[in-house]
C-alpha cells in the first residue's frame, strides 16, 4: 500500500502539468498570431500537395517547382500577364534569325554562401544538362532541345546557340534553374550516375529571392529572405507553404488567422469564405482543363464510328458545358471548347468550337448518318449499339460528377456510356501504350494544366508524342506541320496565327474534346497586399506572387 503512493503522486504531477500546458496554450495561440503578423512572414496553405524531393532533376510536383523558382536563379521568367521578362538576365536578344541568344546577367551577384553567381554558373548548369540530356538529366534535356552550345563572354554574358530558330527558346529557358556548381558539381559530372541519389536537403544554397530554411515532407516548407539576392528585395521577411490534408482544415486555419493565403479553395467553401469579412477571394480564370478524350488511333477498329469527325461533332453539340460548370464547379469555372484555355489571353481563341449546346442538331447529325435508335433507345452504328466504355482515373475530386453529366447528356442523343473507374496507373497503361500499338479504350476523361506558352499543349497531340503524352494517340501530318511551324515562328503575330490554325485543325478532328476549365480560387486575408492571382494556382513561372506581396 505504502509503495503505491509515491507512484500515484508522480502520476498526479504529470496530469497536472499536462493540464497546465493545455490551459496555457489558449493564451500562447493568440500571441503566435501577433508575432507572425509583425514578423511579416506570409503563411500560405494548400491541400493535397506535397514536396517529395528537392532535387530538380527528380521533381514532379508543383510545389517542388515553386521552391526552385524562389531559391534558384533563372535566366528569364514571366510577368503577371504572361510575357517573358528578364530575371538573372538583365537583358537578352537574339541574332542570326533566332539561332543565337545572348543574355547579359546581373553583375556582382552572389549565392547565399557568398560565392560569386555569374553567367559561368548558367553555362556550367546548361552544359551539364546537355551532357546527359537523354539520361540522368532528361528532366531538363527537352527544354534545351536544339541547343548547339552554351558559352560565356566574360562573367556577365551568356551565349546560347541553337541549330535552328526556336520560337520557344525563352519559354523553355524560363523553366531551367541555374544551380550552384559548388553543390552540384559532384552529382552532375561524368554520366551523372549519382544524381538520382542526391536529396539536396534544406537549407539549400540559394541564388533566388528566398532561402529555403527547412522543409518537411507533407507538412511545410519555410523560407527566409535571401539578403544577397541580385534582384529587387522582397518586402516579406519570409514565407512558408503549409500542406493541409483536408480543405476543411485549411479553411478553418485561414478563418482563424493561422494562415494568410489559402490556395485551391474548393468551390463548396466559397459561400462560407465570402461571408467572412476578414477574407478576400481571388477568382482568376484557371488553366486546368477537363477534357473528353477519344481513342483516335487508326488501330481502334472496334468502334470505327468514333473516328468519324461528324460523330464527334454530335458529341460536341450534345454536351451541356455550362451545366457542367454549374454542377461540378458550382458556377465558378468556365466552359472550354479549345485546348488553349481562355485564361491564356495571348493565345486563346474564343471562336474555336463555340457552336454551343444543341442536342437537337446532334441528334440530327446521327440520324443523317443512319445511326437509328434501337428498341432500348440506344443508336446502332456499324452493326453495334453506340455503347462505349469511358475510362475515369481515380483520385480526382469532381470527376465522378463530370462523367455522370456526360453520361446523361449523351444518353439523350442515344449514345450509351459505361463508366469504368480505374486507378491512375491502369489509366496510364490503357491510354499510353508505346506506339505503334493501338491503345485499348473508347473514351476517357482527364485534365491537363496549360503553361503560358501554347507549345506544350499543342505538342500533346503530335505524332511524336504517341506512347508518351499523346493520350488520344492522334496523328495527323498536317497538324504536325502546323505545330512545327509555330515552334519556329519567331514573329509573335505570325506565331499566333499559326497557333490559331493548329487549334482549328484539332477542333475539326476533335481527338480531344475540351469540357470546362476548373476555377482558380485563392482565399487571402485582407491584411495581405500585393498578392496577385495567377492562372496557375501556384505560380511556378515567376517570383512575382510572393516577391511583390506585403503584410499590413
Amino acid at each position: 500500500m505504502a509503495k503505491g503512493s509515491p507512484m500515484r503522486r508522480k502520476l498526479l504531477y504529470g496530469l497536472v502539468s499536462v493540464a497546465l500546458v493545455l490551459a496555457g496554450s489558449a493564451c500562447t495561440n493568440s500571441k503566435a498570431d501577433v508575432r507572425s503578423g509583425e514578423g511579416s512572414v506570409l503563411r500560405i496553405g494548400d491541400t493535397g500537395s506535397t514536396i517529395s524531393t528537392l532535387n530538380p532533376f527528380l521533381a514532379s510536383n508543383i510545389f517542388e517547382n515553386a521552391v526552385f523558382r524562389y531559391v534558384y536563379p533563372y535566366l528569364v521568367q514571366y510577368d503577371t500577364s504572361g510575357s517573358i521578362e528578364g530575371d538573372f538576365a538583365t537583358s537578352y536578344q537574339s541574332t542570326e534569325g533566332g539561332r543565337v541568344w545572348t543574355f547579359h546577367t546581373h553583375p556582382g551577384a552572389t549565392w547565399s554562401d557568398h560565392k560569386p553567381l555569374t553567367a559561368e554558373d548558367a553555362a556550367w548548369t546548361f552544359n551539364a544538362i546537355l551532357a546527359n540530356k537523354d539520361g540522368a538529366t532528361a528532366r531538363f534535356g527537352s527544354y534545351l532541345a536544339h541547343v548547339q552550345s552554351v558559352t560565356t563572354r566574360g562573367p556577365n554574358e551568356l551565349v546560347v546557340t541553337y541549330d535552328k530558330p526556336v520560337a520557344t527558346a525563352l519559354a523553355n529557358l524560363s523553366v531551367v534553374p541555374i544551380l550552384p556548381r559548388a553543390v552540384w558539381g559532384p552529382y552532375l559530372s561524368g554520366d551523372a550516375g549519382k544524381l538520382s541519389g542526391f536529396t539536396n536537403d534544406a537549407p539549400l544554397v540559394s541564388g533566388g529571392s528566398f532561402i529555403l530554411t527547412s522543409e518537411k515532407k507533407d507538412a511545410y516548407a519555410l523560407f527566409e529572405r535571401n539578403p544577397s539576392f541580385y534582384g529587387p528585395k522582397p518586402k516579406l521577411s519570409g514565407f512558408g507553404f503549409q500542406f493541409f490534408g483536408s480543405a476543411d482544415a485549411m479553411i478553418s486555419a485561414i478563418q482563424q488567422g493561422q494562415i494568410d493565403v489559402a490556395y485551391d479553395v474548393p468551390a463548396t467553401a466559397v459561400s462560407t469564405l465570402k461571408k467572412d469579412p476578414s477574407l478576400h477571394l481571388l477568382t482568376n480564370k484557371g488553366t486546368d482543363e477537363d477534357t473528353l478524350i477519344f481513342n483516335s488511333s487508326p488501330g481502334q477498329t472496334e468502334h470505327p464510328e468514333l473516328l468519324d469527325p461528324k460523330v464527334r461533332e454530335a458529341f460536341h453539340l450534345a454536351i451541356d458545358r455550362q451545366k457542367m460548370v454549374d454542377v461540378v464547379t458550382l458556377g465558378m469555372g468556365t466552359p472550354a471548347t479549345s485546348i488553349i484555355p481562355l485564361s491564356l489571353q495571348n493565345w486563346a481563341d474564343p471562336q474555336i468550337g463555340a457552336e454551343g449546346f444543341h442536342p437537337d442538331k446532334a441528334s440530327q447529325i446521327l440520324d443523317q448518318l443512319g445511326y437509328t435508335r434501337g428498341a432500348d433507345g440506344v443508336r446502332v452504328a456499324n452493326g453495334h449499339p453506340m455503347s462505349y466504355d469511358l475510362l475515369e482515373p481515380t483520385g480526382l475530386t469532381g470527376h465522378d460528377r463530370v462523367v455522370d453529366l456526360l453520361r446523361s447528356d449523351l444518353a439523350k442523343i442515344g449514345v450509351e456510356i459505361h463508366v469504368r473507374v480505374v486507378d491512375g496507373d491502369a489509366f496510364g497503361d490503357a491510354l499510353v501504350t508505346p506506339s505503334p500499338k493501338a491503345p485499348s479504350y473508347d473514351l476517357a476523361v482527364d485534365d491537363w494544366i496549360s503553361r503560358w506558352d501554347p507549345d506544350f499543349m499543342l505538342s500533346l497531340n503530335t505524332c511524336g508524342q504517341r506512347g508518351n503524352y499523346n493520350e488520344a494517340a492522334y496523328c495527323n501530318s498536317h497538324y504536325d506541320a502546323l505545330y512545327n511551324q509555330q515552334s519556329t515562328s519567331l514573329d509573335l503575330a505570325q506565331r499566333k496565327q499559326v497557333v490559331d490554325e493548329a487549334q482549328e485543325a484539332l477542333n475539326r478532328d476533335k481527338p480531344w474534346m475540351p469540357l470546362f476549365v476548373n476555377p482558380n480560387l485563392i482565399a487571402v486575408r485582407k491584411n495581405v497586399h500585393g498578392f496577385s492571382g495567377s492562372p496557375f494556382v501556384v505560380d511556378t513561372t515567376s517570383r512575382h506572387q510572393i516577391d511583390d506581396s506585403w503584410l499590413q
Binding site: D248, Q255, T394, V421, D423, A426
Partner: protein, 308 residues
C-alpha cells in the same frame, strides 16, 4: 453421452430462439438489422428525390421538405442516405457471408483433416492475422478498379481468418466426440461425418460469426470508401462521409451531411454486434454468476403463505 446432434437440431434451434427472444440485446439488434435490411430492399421506392437531382443550394440547411438538408451539390441528403443503405448493407452482408464461407471451409478442413494440411492452412491464416489488414486492403483496392464486387472480395479476403480459427478449434473438439468416433469406427464416409455430425454443431457458431462479421465488413466498407477507394459511381454511407469530408462540409457548418451516414453505420454495427453476441450466448450459454457484486442478496419478511 449426447445424442447425435442432427436428430435434435430442431430442438436446439427452438431452444436458441427461446433464449434469443428473452434477450433484449438480441431483440434490439435484430430490430435494427431488420429495419436497415428493409430500407435497403425498398429504399428506391422510399427516396423522396433523385440522387442526382439538384433541388436547392449547396449545403442547403434542413427544412420540412428536406429533413436532412442538402449535400455539396444541392442533392437531398435523405435520398442519398436511403440510397446509400443498399450498397453499405449489400457489402456488409455479402462480405461477411463470403468470409464465413471461406473461413468455415478452411476451419473445417484444417480441423477435420489435420496433419500437414492443418499446419499449412494455419500458417497462411497466421500470416493474414499479422499482416496489417487495412493497409493490405488499401493496396489491393488501389490496384484493383473500384467496384462493389471488388469491395466485397477485398473485405472478405481479410475477414475469413478469425472464422477459420474459431471453427477449427470447434471442429477439433467435435472430432473427439463419441458420436463422431463411433461414426468413424463403423466406417462412415468423411463427407457424411462432416455433414451429419460436425456441420450441424457448428451452425450456431457460423451464424453468430456471420452476424458479427457484418459489423466488421460495414466498418471496412466505410473505411475504404472514406479513403476514396469505393466505387465512385455508387452511393454508400462511407462514401457520403468521404464526400462531406473532402468537400468542406465542416467549414460550411453542414453537420447534416456528416452525422446521418455515420449514425447509420453505428446503428448497423451496433445491431449486428448485439445480435451476434446474443446468438453466441444462446448457442453456448454460460451460467455466469458473479460471486462479488456491488449488490448483495436481499432480506425480506417471511411471507405468510410460505410459512408452512
Amino acid at each position: 453421452m449426447p445424442p447425435p446432434s442432427s436428430l435434435n437440431a430442431t430442438i436446439v434451434a427452438r431452444r436458441w430462439l427461446t433464449r434469443l427472444r428473452q434477450n433484449p440485446a438480441a431483440l434490439i439488434g435484430g430490430a435494427l438489422l431488420t429495419a436497415f435490411a428493409v430500407l435497403a430492399l425498398f429504399g428506391p421506392l422510399l427516396t423522396p428525390f433523385g440522387i442526382d437531382q439538384r433541388v436547392g443550394p449547396v449545403y442547403g440547411a434542413p427544412s420540412p421538405a428536406h429533413p436532412l438538408g442538402l449535400d455539396d451539390s444541392g442533392v437531398d441528403m435523405l435520398s442519398l442516405l436511403i440510397a446509400g443503405t443498399r450498397i453499405s448493407m449489400l457489402v456488409g452482408f455479402a462480405a461477411s457471408m463470403v468470409s464465413v464461407l471461406v473461413g468455415g471451409f478452411v476451419g473445417v478442413t484444417a480441423g477435420y483433416v489435420g496433419g500437414w494440411v492443418d499446419t499449412a492452412l494455419m500458417r497462411i491464416t497466421d500470416y493474414f492475422i499479422v499482416i496489417p489488414a487495412l493497409p493490405l486492403m488499401i493496396v489491393v483496392a488501389t490496384v484493383w478498379a473500384p467496384s462493389v464486387v471488388h469491395m466485397v472480395l477485398i473485405i472478405a479476403l481479410l475477414l475469413w481468418t478469425s472464422t477459420a480459427r474459431l471453427i477449427r478449434a470447434q471442429v477439433l473438439a467435435l472430432k473427439e466426440r463419441v458420436s463422431v468416433r463411433r461414426a468413424r469406427a463403423i466406417g462412415a464416409g468423411h463427407a457424411r461425418i462432416v455433414l451429419r455430425h460436425i456441420v450441424p454443431d457448428i451452425v450456431g457458431l457460423l451464424v453468430a460469426t456471420t452476424v458479427l462479421a457484418v459489423s466488421v465488413a460495414v466498418f471496412f466498407e466505410a473505411a475504404l470508401s472514406f479513403l476514396g477507394l469505393g466505387d465512385p459511381a455508387t452511393v454508400s454511407w462511407g462514401r457520403l462521409i468521404q464526400i462531406a469530408f473532402e468537400r468542406t462540409a465542416i467549414s460550411s457548418g453542414a453537420w447534416w451531411a456528416i452525422i446521418p451516414p455515420g449514425l447509420c453505420i453505428a446503428l448497423v454495427v451496433l445491431g449486428s454486434s448485439l445480435l451476434g453476441t446474443a446468438i453466441q450466448h444462446a448457442a453456448n450459454p454460460k451460467a455466469g454468476i458473479a460471486h462479488v457484486s456491488s449488490r448483495t442478496f436481499r432480506i425480506r419478511p417471511v411471507p405468510e403463505a410460505s410459512r408452512d
